[in-house]
């Protein structure tokens, strides 16, 4: 695409994770979804107290353990060993999902296949008949978290935009996404549609619109 400035380089996943981490306010209760969003945990600012929730019954989840601290009774939603911060708590699944569904989490950070202009989210299944479906806790986070942030690359491997007018993949939740962090910019979902909040250096709004193939307004 000739209209893309040659100086432009999409944000790396680590850069996207840093941007998300910087936007989480002090004191927030946050659920980080499995997959790409897991990177965000590596960039949480030390000067803020951010409590991580894990659907399998942790509030106050800590970082990965050292090899001699590994305990397979203490794992995260991705089934990887983690630790517990001082002040952290364990609880059963019913209470964990009461936290999620009941509106007690400030932010959920989820991956996505598609996000629609009205905030609809599709992130659990494609239309591939050979794929094994799996939904986990995504639908509960979508309806329950006060803010749903999506972390995803703007384009599929085939170059199709994941920001869409209407999701064509099976929905996870309706109108639930508030902000999308992509490698091509941070985009808010507003009543007026997609609004560019932050663009990577060298990428103009016009160039972003050309790539996304859908209207994204200036903030």
């Amino acid at each position: 695409m000739s209209e893309i400035a040659t100086a432009f380089k999409p944000w790396t996943r680590a850069e996207m994770a840093q941007l998300i981490a910087a936007d989480i306010p002090d004191g927030a209760i946050v659920n980080i979804g499995i997959g790409m969003p897991e990177l965000v945990a590596d960039f949480l600012p030390q000067d803020k107290e951010i409590l991580l929730h894990s659907e399998n019954g942790i509030l106050g989840m800590g970082p990965k353990p050292s090899p001699n601290e590994v305990d397979y009774d203490l794992i995260n939603a991705g089934k990887q060993p983690v630790t517990l911060l001082d002040g952290g708590a364990f609880f059963d699944h019913s209470l964990s999902f009461a936290m999620m569904r009941g509106g007690h989490l400030d932010i959920a950070i989820l991956g996505a296949f598609q996000v629609a202009v009205n905030g609809d989210l599709a992130n659990w299944a494609t239309n591939d008949p050979n794929a094994i479906p799996a939904v986990g806790g995504a639908m509960d986070l979508a309806v329950g978290a006060r803010n749903v942030f999506v972390m995803m690359e703007l384009l599929t491997k085939k170059g199709e935009s994941k920001l869409v007018a209407h999701c064509t993949y099976p929905l996870t939740g309706l109108g639930c996404v508030s902000r999308v962090y992509t490698d091509h910019g941070v985009i808010d979902i507003t009543p007026e549609g997609f609004v560019a909040r932050l663009l990577p250096p060298g990428l103009s709004l016009e160039a972003l619109n050309a790539r996304a193939g859908i209207g994204i307004r200036a903030s």
Partner: protein, 225 residues
Amino acid sequence: MIDKTRPDTQSCVADIPDGATLLVGGFGGAGMPHELIEAVIARAPKDLTIISNNAGNGTTGLAALLAAGLVKKVVCSFPRQADSQVFDQLYREGKLELELVPQGNLVERIRAGGAGIGAFFTPTGYGTPIANGKETRQIDGRNYVLEYPLKADFALIKAHRGDRWGNLTYRKTARNFGPVMATAATITVAQVEDIVPLGALDPEDIVTPGVFVDRLVAIGTGAAQ
């Protein structure tokens, strides 16, 4: 005298009939009652329906139960994992029926089953394929889907310690579905690391009161995988 302890896992599962529905605790490997599942495999009841969060990891536990050809249906939230090859193959071959349930609906349906609730309205899944064909209702401007309880003939769970009345404590994230599943089965079986005398468990620490447990067996300390 009340004594729910059993000397071995075999006697805990010896009366599971063909066609039974089993709640199986665990989230991945944490809280998975591996030893009880091995006893079920040895007994080999057929056409089981399994309700669990996942559908087996690797080649042990639920995966081994599936591989043994004893399961006709799985009700779960997240079968697809890096090491779910046993489920994946059986599902693709059409040998397993799958009912996919969002995780919060899964645990709340089990909770309802154990708590005597006839059904409940939940916002989770509204407007998605999960809600297809289900009753919906708008309450205070929000949309909800009607979901029905899940109950089982047996619940197989893993706890940390227990006593002969069936009181249970849990360990870290191995708690997960155990306390809820214990409430929703005709017969609840718990495997624990050790069985302690009455009074040895601090009543403030007991998560599952003994009323919900029918049988428990000590299997010793084993690192979960």
